[in-house]
Structures are given as C-alpha cells and as structure tokens.
C-alpha cells in the first residue's frame, strides 16, 4: 500500500511544497521542513579517524597472516611484443621460492604495452620473490609500436589491436538541435584545440590482496572498491577447482584510495588465490609502485577541437566538438557531457573517437571524461569572453539556467560573492609587472543517482540500546561508516555513539553497491533509513502495548522515546531497548522506492573559482585559492563532504598544473613511473580551499542524499586554466600548465 506524503523541496530562495507516494513499510522524505537533530546540526567527525591515524585500521596492505607467502609480478618491458615464458626452473630453484605461475595460458601471448602482466613468483619473503621474478626466462619478439596518438591515427602506423587504431572508424556523433543553423545565428565564433594529459591514479595503497584458504573456503582481503565483483571474479576464475561463490569471502575494511581504478578481482587476485590453494599457504601480492603506475589504470588523455558560436551578448548559439580520447591499448572515454550539459545551448554536435596506443589501459578516474570536457568548454568560453572583452563570470552566468532542483545559477552567484569576483576580476592580461594574478570560474554537474535495488541493509537493536547497521558495501575512503551511522542515528532519534556500522565483508550476506559513480550515499542511505524505520517500529509496537497506544503514536528524539499524543508518556532509549530482555530486533530492508517526483533527480551541481599567480619570468603557476561551491542534494555528513571536496580539488590542481604521464617515444615506456618525476602536488602546491556546501532538497531518495566523490573533481582544472588565461592574456590550451608551456606561450605572444 502506498502512502501519500508532503514535503518541502528546493534550495534557499527557491522552494516549493510537493506531494508524493511511498510504500507503507518505507519512510518518507526528510525534506527541507524536517526537524533534524543530527544531519546538518552536529558536525560528526569521521568515526574511524583515530583508527586510521594510529595505525589500528588495517588496510589490505597491512594484512599479514601466519605462514604467509609474498608474491611479486613480472611485467613486459616492451611496448609491443610476442612473449613466451620459456624456462622457470632457475627461478624455482631460488631460495625460498614456492611457486612460479604465468598469467596467460601457456605463458605466451602478445603484450600491448610496457607493463603487461607475464608471471608471478611467490616466496617466503618479498625480497626472495623479487629476486626470483627476475630469473624467469621470457622470450620476447619485439613488435613495432605506436605511442603518440597523432601518429597512431595514421593508417601506416602499427596496429595496437586487431582492428584499426581509431575507434569507432566513423566518429559517433551526438546531436542536439541544428548546429549549422546555430553557427549561422552566431555573431562571434571562437575556435581552439584543447588537450589534456594522461593522469595516473597513484592510489596511496597500491592494488593487491591477500588470499587464504580454510578447507574449501577462501578469504581474500582485497584493496577494492567492490567486494562483490571481486568475490564473483575469484569464484569464476577458479571454477575449475570447483570453487563456488558461497565459499568465497572478500573483506575490505579500509582502503587507501581507488578513484575508479579498483574494481574486479584483477588477474593477480585470481592467481593469488590459486597459488594459495596449490601451496596450501596464504599469499600476499601488493603491486609495487612501478607496476601500479604503469598497469593499474589511468585517466585517458584527450584532444578536443572546439568551436563555439555566440551572440554579441555572450549567449551561446552553437557548440561543435570533434574529440579524440586516448585510452591506451584498451577502453574508451567520452568528453561529451560537459559540452552538452554544463551550459545552455540549443545546437550542439559532438563527434568522438578513441585513438588506441601501446600504453597502459585507462580505467574510470573520478568522473570519467568530465575534467577533460570541462577544461575544453571552460577554456573555449574563456576565449569567447576574451574576444568579446567580457567578464568571463558574466558570460558564464548568462549561459546557465536552473530549476527547483538544479541550483547552478545560484551556486555560481554565491561562489562569486564568497570569492570576491567583482574586486578581483580584471581584463585578461591587463596586470603590469612580472608576477601576474588571474581568476577563473567553472561549473560542474554529475548525475549522482542511487540504485534502488542496489543495497540491502540490516538494522539490529540490542537490549542495551546499542545498534548495528550492516551493509555489504565498502569504504572507499569517503567516510561511508560515518555517513551510515549519521543516517541511522537521525532515523532512530539517538546519538551516533549507539551505532556500530558493519561493512566491507561479503560474509555479511547483504548486497551492497560498488563504490563508484558517486552512487554509494544515494544507494545505501535510503535503505539504512528504511531498515532502521522497520526495526524501530517493531520496538515501538512493544512500547505501544505498554502505553496502550499505537506504534505510529510513538517517536524518539535526542534519545527519548515518547508518545506524540500524551507528552507525559516517555522513557529513555536505553530503557525502551531494555524491554527486549534477551532478544534483539532485526529488520532487513532491500532497496528503496524512488518517490518519482517529476523534474527531480537532476544530479549534483556546483561552481568553482580559482585564483592563480603566474611568474612570467620563470613560467611557474601557483594556484593560491579555490572556492568550491557544491551541492550533493541534502548533505548528510558535512565533514566528510568537505573532505571529499578538498581531495577532489587537489586532484584537479594536480591535473591542471603538475601530473603528467610522460612516455618515452623511443621505447614506448612511461619514463616517470615513480613519485619523483611524476609530480603529485604536496602541501606547498595545495591552495587555500574554501568549501561552500549548498543543501538542495531533491526528492530523489528518502534522505535526499546524492553522491559527492566525483562532482567537485570536474571543474578545478578548467577554472585554473581560465585563471591562467586571465592572468597572462594568452590561453594555454594544453594540460598540465607547466613552466615550459607558460614561457613558450609568453614568448609567442611577444614575438
């Protein structure tokens, strides 16, 4: 039976009342008029912060089992080669060695990039395993390769895979309106070619796992964003051994970053489990930094030919983009969404192709394709502003529109105020002196939508008042435990201290989402509420009998259970729970029902503002300040949200100014696969980051929560690129904006 509810939605200055229906056994939306006690009221610190900083939290990297072997992988040093493992006997005879295994059937195959997995050695110590891996004899027949994407497009270039290097052979086009008509209407046209580099994930904890058997059951501690796909992958990978998924347990209690690169068992995960079985001892394999960098994914580079048409007042009339994405030897990417969705334009045509090269395969990286596309559209708009001699914020503000759930115009305006845009903004390149300052802004959008069937949550109420909330998801590092505890505490009307969150273990038997796509909060939080709601109703029924009232007459706030109709009837949460005596109440909720309100669920929006300082004599750019305005629907865990925004901004700064996978054109290897020459920003490169979180009440799920990992990672690079153009008066169209490029651009400008 569906129940009718009403609530207030929208954001400051733009709210409205709505009606919606939800099944009886689910709880209604919190909404803007809900009387919150914790969400948005108390600033709850990350629950496992102390564990993490004291080292008590055990990451997969920290798991050491009795009698455990250490494994090391051997990779191909050539960009393209037929290989065959010809002799492992010497390696097998090395001290401490227990196993040498190959990744490909028969130890042969074709390596399509330098870093291809070939074999794995397991030994008593990691040192012995490393020494042994070097003694594995591999025969390589080196093949012609191609590294430079421009060269790869040439028909005469070596083929990376069986098909052509350009995929699909004919560009796939996305159209809106009539782009030719749009350009005819245009009074001004700008064109530019924008390129973005390959960025590696560089997770602090590298990829890897520990596998241990107990009879027919295998337990795998895996540094993963998705314990379920790992469990499924290990089971299917070892089905020849008769392994079934009911005998696979995957545990990820803590992980040191994934950013989209840690899904699935990985070939070495399956091999670890296999070796552990064969040798009868636990096996640990965590990739070394080199292999992690070259093998375990990256953000694809891109080249975008962008043409914009606009009226003299800055209103866009047409956008045409021809984009090439560079996913390495496999995978694909798309930069289309920022061009299509960030600004309003009726006539759009995006044509895209992937260009394959003999380099490591790309993987999802914090908002796949978006930071690239964002850099393209923001820079093109900046150049439009330069051409029109317009303030770029004014221009951008003119091209966004909102709804009750889409607050981007409001966020752009709010950001400009907090940032002090009016005082700071000046004509492009107008500042005198060697050190020049500039400002830039950019908007963001991400569809952080929840999966209604994606999670099962169990809530257990114990007689001492303590509560366990459990789900089969894992904490990618976003603060998932804290978020779940806050939601449960708010729903139950008790302090967060009562709540224990159990996650990161397939043995909980509770379906949980992979941590990706900024979907975990909208997928799990409504189910946490539903489970708590169902559990508390069971408790309220017991109390209702005692108080001779209905369960629906009972509520709990700030740890006091009370009757809504008879204010004298109340007791503490602990006393209420004590009525359970020697039993416990358990309720499991499977998924949730979307309220399905027209116009709702438009995603998370925001705007970022960057300030830079450019030393025109050395070419050095420093980003000194970022103001990040962001919504994630209704913010549930504010501290964790701020921390997500800061992390995203730092990765954006990295992409704008520092990180670059540099490939050696001669041998086709990454030449900086380390933390010295691959320049990850440190504390001195980190700008002052001001986070401004906006609550947008969107009836998308009952908590109103949306995901936040990705949205703030999208606009930073574009905002910084625009700020550099504002400072020096010439756009640098190629990321990262390093001193060599700045000096060259300034020289071109002068000469």
């Amino acid at each position: 039976m569906a129940k009718q509810h009403t609530t207030v939605v929208g954001y400051e200055g733009n709210t409205q009342s709505i009606e919606y229906a939800i099944p009886e056994n689910e709880t209604g939306l919190w909404g803007a008029n809900f009387d919150y006690s914790i969400v948005g009221k108390k600033n709850i610190p990350r629950l496992d912060a102390v564990e993490k900083v004291t080292g008590k939290a055990k990451y997969s990297y920290d798991i050491n089992r009795p009698n455990m072997l250490h494994a090391v992988v051997l990779t191909c040093p050539y960009a393209h080669a037929h290989f065959e493992v010809t002799d492992t006997s010497e390696a097998e005879k090395m001290p401490g060695v227990k196993s040498i295994e190959v990744f490909d059937e028969g130890g042969k195959g074709t390596a399509r990039f330098a870093g291809w997995l070939i074999a794995m050695a397991a030994a008593e110590t990691i040192q012995q395993a490393r020494d042994a891996a070097r003694k594995i004899k591999v025969n390589y027949k080196v093949l012609p390769f191609v590294i430079d994407p421009d060269e790869a497009m040439d028909d005469a270039s070596p083929r990376v895979n069986r098909g052509g290097n350009v995929n699909p052979p004919e560009a796939r086009a996305r159209d809106r309106g009539d782009v030719d008509q749009g350009f005819q209407e245009a009074e001004v046209i700008v064109e530019g070619v924008y390129t973005t580099q390959v960025q590696t994930h560089s997770c602090l904890e590298t990829h890897g796992c520990v596998a241990e058997w107990n009879g027919d059951e295998v337990t795998v501690w895996h540094s993963t964003q998705g314990i379920w796909s790992v469990a499924g992958g290990i089971a299917s990978g070892l089905k020849d051994l008769g392994l079934q998924q009911n005998n696979v347990r995957v545990i990820t209690q803590y992980m040191g970053g994934g950013f989209g690169s840690k899904f699935g068992p990985e070939p070495f995960g399956v091999l670890c489990a296999l070796v552990a079985k064969k040798v009868g001892r636990p096996v640990k394999m965590m990739l070394d930094r080199y292999t992690d960098t070259v093998y375990a994914g990256n953000k694809p580079g891109s080249k975008m030919y962008v043409k914009l048409g606009a009226k003299k007042d800055g209103k866009l009339t047409a956008i045409h983009v021809k984009a090439y994405n560079y996913p390495g030897h496999s995978g694909g990417s798309s930069v289309a969404i920022p061009f299509m969705e960030h600004y309003d334009c009726e006539n759009i045509r995006i044509e895209e192709q992937n260009v394959m090269t003999n380099a490591g395969a790309s993987r999802a990286f914090r908002a796949p394709g978006r930071p690239q596309g964002s850099f393209g559209i923001e820079m093109a708009l900046e150049e439009l502003a330069m051409k029109l001699e317009m303030d770029s914020y004014e221009l951008k503000a003119k091209n966004v529109s909102g709804t009750t759930y889409k607050a981007v115009p409001y966020e752009l305006k709010l950001g400009a105020e907090k940032f002090g845009w009016k005082e700071k903004s000046k004509k492009h390149g107008s500042e005198n002196g060697k050190i020049k300052h500039g400002v830039g802004c950019a908007v963001t959008f991400w569809h952080s939508t929840g999966q209604d069937k994606g999670a099962s949550v169990r809530c257990t109420l114990y007689p001492d008042g303590s509560v366990e909330v459990a789900n089969g998801c894992q904490d990618l590092g976003t603060g998932q435990r804290t978020m779940m505890a806050i939601v449960a505490a708010e729903e139950l009307g008790i302090d967060v201290g009562f709540i224990k969150v159990s996650i990161g273990d397939t043995q909980l038997g509770l379906n949980g989402p992979a941590s990706g796509g900024s979907t975990t909060t909208p997928t799990t939080s409504p189910v946490v509420r539903n489970a708590c709601y169902q559990a508390k109703l069971k408790l309220y029924e017991k109390i209702a009998t005692k108080w001779k009232t209905e369960a629906s007459d009972i509520d709990c706030k700030n740890g006091t259970v009370f009757s809504k109709s008879h204010s004298d009837k109340k007791m503490s949460w602990k006393d209420a729970a004590a009525m359970l005596r020697n039993s416990a109440i358990t309720a499991t909720a499977d998924g949730f029902t979307k309220p399905d309100v027209p116009g709702s669920n438009t995603g998370a929006y925001g705007a970022q503002f960057a300030e830079v300082e450019v030393d025109t004599e050395t070419g050095k750019v420093r980003c000194t300040r970022i103001v990040a305005v962001q919504d994630c629907g209704k913010t549930i865990a504010k501290k964790q949200a701020e921390s997500q925004i800061c992390g995203a901004v730092i990765q954006g700064v990295a992409c704008a100014l520092y990180e670059d996978r540099i490939m050696d054109n001669m041998a086709g290897r990454q030449i900086n696969p380390n933390m010295e020459e691959y320049k990850i920003p440190g504390i001195k490169e980190t700008p002052d980051i001001e986070t401004v979180i906006v609550d947008v009440y969107d009836p998308v799920v009952n908590t109103g929560g949306k995901g936040l990992g990705e949205p703030p990672a999208i606009p930073t690079g574009g905002a910084i690129g625009c700020a550099v153009a504002n400072a020096i008066g010439v756009p640098i169209r190629d990321l990262p904006i390093t001193p060599d490029k700045v000096l060259a651009a300034l020289q071109r400008k002068e000469g």
Binding site: G619, Y658, A667, P681, G682, E685
Partner: protein, 323 residues
C-alpha cells in the same frame, strides 16, 4: 636487490682500508638515500657496503676564524639548521634547506649528496642500457629531455643533481679526500667533471677513495642560492643559481656565479661573472649578467625553457644580494 655484505666502519681510515681490501665491488654507504635506490633498481652493483654513517669523527661542523669545515657524514638537515653557515655561507645553508624533503635531509649526508648519481630518467631505469651504465648511447639526446642539460652535455646529457655541490662550487670550497695514499684536497671546481672528461662517475674521486670533509676558506662574499622546481614540496632543481659576490657597497669586487640543474656538473657562468666584475650592480647589469650566463646554452628538444628560466634566476640571485 642483490645480496651484499654490510660492514660498519669505525673511522675514516678503517673505511678506506676496507675499500682497499682487494675485493672489487665495495662501496661507501652513508645515509643510503641514493645508493639503496640504485641497488634496488639494479642500477648499481655492490658486494660490500661500508657504512660510515656512524663514524663520529666525520660528523661535525667547524666554523672558526671565518673558515668553515663540515665532516662528510654531517646530515643535510644539520647544515641547513646551522646559524654560522647561514651567516657566512648563506648559499650553502639555503641549498641544504631545499634538498629533497625533511626525511631526506634528516637522513642524507653531505658526502652522499656530493657523490649521488644523476637522476636522469633513462639512467635510473634498468631497461635502458645508456652511456652512464656502460651502454652505447645517451637516450636523452633524442628522447624525452625536459629536465636535461643545456650546457656541457655531450656525450651524455644528464644534469648534476646536487644542490650542495652548486653552492659549494660558488663558495670556492675544497673537498678533503682520503685514499690508500693518504689525504688530499681538491677544489670543488676541479672535483666535479663533465662526461666528456670522465664518463663515470661525475667526479674525480677514485673507487678506493672517500670524502672526509668539505672546507670553505675564509672569504668576504655575500652569497645566496635560488632553486627553481616545479613542485615546492620536494623536487630536484630544474635550474638553480648559487651566486657569491664580494661587494663594496653595490659595486661588485669579485663575482662567483654557478648554475645547477642545467649541466652535468656545477656550471660556472664565467661570462656572467665578467659582466659583473668591477661594476656597480643595477637591475640592468643583473639582467645583462643573466643573458651572459646563458649565452652558450644549447637546448635539446624539450628543454628550451631552461634558458630564459636560468637567465631570470641569475638576475634574481644578483639582485637579492644587493637588496
């Protein structure tokens, strides 16, 4: 990492005896910041490591009568924190303070800093049998060379990575060495070498010799070290300048300008010195000196930017000294 024997030396003399006991592949290890990486990456080979990091007689800073002597195992952090060095040999203190990260400065020693091997990415990768590893070619010449040399490159285009070496050369330091034939001193200027002179290593030290100390004789120079890096948190010098000037008001009596991060050894910018010698320093003279400093520079495919960059750094270092 291949197996090796690790021996603690109790004195400099003992370390040298151990180096000369007939076995071939013995090496001194001090802080191990560089050597261990080389061993792990299979760039260097050693059968015996002679540890001098606990040799107390090599760990000292003596600043007396205007001259300075620093023992070889003194940490970079200790040099950076020393008030006497900052007062009289500021370029060295400043150089030490920007070496690597705090951890590296705490562990790394002066001797190790001067004898550290190049950071060229081809040299540092086992996959490339380059000139510096006994192979036939310098890959940087036709490969990726954004961080490589603009001076003195041929036949190998790596840059000397030591910040301290640049500062010490500008300050006219003398390197004290100990070998089987006893002690000797070598001016810093002659200590570091170009690949055209000696391909391996980057200095005149023999495999059976070691550095015991570095001395800076008394001088009247004001000095400074400016290091440019892409990343302030820690990074090698993309380009660096150690400038030491003897000044009479703003008139330059004597100039010593040495460049780092741009050549296989600390690179004396003779032409820049000549511009300054005997002249009153003004912004335009400093600019002229900057131009002169890069007069003989030749860029590779990716490092043209180092030329205007270095010019700027020279100008700024000079101006900083008269400020």
């Amino acid at each position: 990492m291949d197996r090796f024997q690790f021996i603690n030396a109790n004195s400099a003399q003992e370390a040298v005896s151990l180096l000369n006991d007939g076995s071939t592949k013995s090496k001194i290890i001090a802080g191990g910041q560089d050597l261990l990486t080389e061993l792990k990456e299979h760039i260097a080979k050693a059968e015996k490591l002679i540890n001098i990091s606990d040799v107390q007689e090599l760990n000292y800073i003596n600043a007396e009568n205007g001259s300075l002597k620093v023992g070889a195992t003194t940490t970079i952090a200790a040099i950076a924190a020393n008030g006497e060095i900052l007062a009289k040999n500021r370029a060295l203190a400043e150089a030490a303070s920007v070496v690597g990260s705090p951890q590296i400065r705490n562990q790394g020693t002066l001797g190790g800093n001067l004898c550290q091997r190049p950071r060229c990415w081809y040299y540092r990768s086992e996959a490339y049998p380059c000139l510096k590893k006994g192979g036939g070619i310098c890959y940087a010449l036709s490969g990726r060379n954004k961080y490589h040399a603009i001076f003195g490159g041929a036949p190998a285009y790596y840059v000397h990575p030591s910040d301290c070496a640049t500062a010490l050369t500008a300050l006219g330091a003398i390197i004290h060495c100990l070998g089987p034939d006893g002690e000797k001193t070598i001016p810093s200027e002659k200590f570091f070498t170009l690949p055209s002179e000696i391909l391996l290593p980057e200095n005149v030290l023999k495999p059976n010799e070691m550095i015991t100390a570095v001395e800076i004789p008394t001088h009247n120079m004001k000095s400074t070290y400016i290091k440019f890096r892409e990343k302030e948190s820690y990074d090698w010098a993309i380009s660096a300048v150690a400038a030491a000037l003897e000044l009479d008001g703003t008139r330059c009596v004597k100039a010593s300008i040495v460049l780092g991060g741009v050549a296989p050894k600390p690179w004396r910018a003779k032409k820049a010195e000549d511009v300054l010698q005997g002249k009153t320093i003004t912004e335009s003279l400093a600019e002229e000196a900057g131009e002169a400093a890069v007069d003989d520079a030749t860029a590779l495919s990716d490092n043209e930017y180092k030329i205007p960059l270095t010019k700027t750094l020279v100008k700024r270092a000079i101006m900083k000294l008269i400020a």
